[in-house]
């Protein structure tokens, strides 16, 4: 995956008042888009799982 195209997430937490921007984890992608991400962001580690869909 190209570094420039890594999915990023902006998180604002009102409890702390802090906004952070960072790369998304694979688990976060799965939770956000449980079907689509498998096709958009295939990696060797999940290619078997994707093929089984």
């Amino acid at each position: 995956m190209d570094t420039e195209n890594k999915p990023q997430i902006t998180i604002y937490d009102n409890a702390t008042g802090v906004t952070t921007v960072r790369d998304m984890t694979f688990e976060e992608l799965e939770q956000a888009q449980p079907i689509k991400y498998k096709y958009d962001y295939q990696t060797p580690s999940d290619s078997v799982d994707t093929a089984a869909q």
Binding site: P7, Q8, I9, T10, I11, Y12, D13, N14, A15, G17, T19, V21, M24, E28, L29, Q31, A32, Q33, P34, K36, D40
Partner: protein, 189 residues
């Protein structure tokens, strides 16, 4: 008129008056080329209703935009969100509706192509954190596409669980990224 605040010339405002003043800005977040934007702990017992203002919401690919509620455990991704909206362009009115799916779709956004393309508007979120109540939203957007057509969007939705929601997330559709500025306000009771 008993409705506060009681503005009296040359008299300092007291807390009880200020605490009852209309909308209170909770936060403003500007984001660029994001996959997801989380607003955590923005729905609290301080307010029952919220205004979420979107300024120049853009996406790198045309799509129905995704808004998903959050609870203490994170994103609520169950199929309990129903959205209805209309888009008016010229004299043509197009309806859009979803059954119960895993997110709200408050507006469509055309693929970004400079400053002319985007959507600005708001949704009012009703009672997201009130126990025993469904969460509803209603709102409106002004959006344009690359042909500079202007679309008037009226939008509404319901999350048909009584979950106590504590925030929301904006999520890109497909492989697009989203950009814009979002302000969250609380309505004083």
């Amino acid at each position: 008129m008993a409705t506060p605040p009681d503005f009296v010339n040359a008299t300092p405002l007291d807390a009880s008056s200020l605490n009852a003043v209309g909308l209170w800005k909770i936060t403003e977040v500007a984001f660029l080329a994001q996959t997801q934007v989380d607003f955590i702990n923005v729905f609290t017992s301080d307010y029952s209703d919220y205004r979420i203002e979107f300024q120049e919401w853009t996406a790198t690919a045309a799509a129905n935009q995704i808004l998903r509620l959050r609870d203490a455990g994170g994103l609520i991704s169950t199929n309990n969100y129903v959205s209805q909206r209309t888009e008016t362009v010229g004299t043509t009115i197009s309806p859009f509706g979803t059954g119960a799916i895993a997110h709200f779709s408050p507006t469509f956004v055309a693929a970004s192509a400079g400053a002319a393309v985007g959507a600005s508007g708001y949704v009012d979120m009703f009672q997201p954190q009130v126990s025993g109540r469904y969460t509803r939203f209603a709102g409106a957007f002004s959006r344009t596409d690359s042909t500079t057509s202007l679309y008037a969007i009226n939008s509404t939705g319901i999350f048909n669980l009584t979950t106590v929601c504590t925030g929301f997330s904006l999520i890109r559709d497909g492989t697009a990224t989203i950009s814009g500025t979002v302000r969250v306000y609380g309505y004083r009771k």
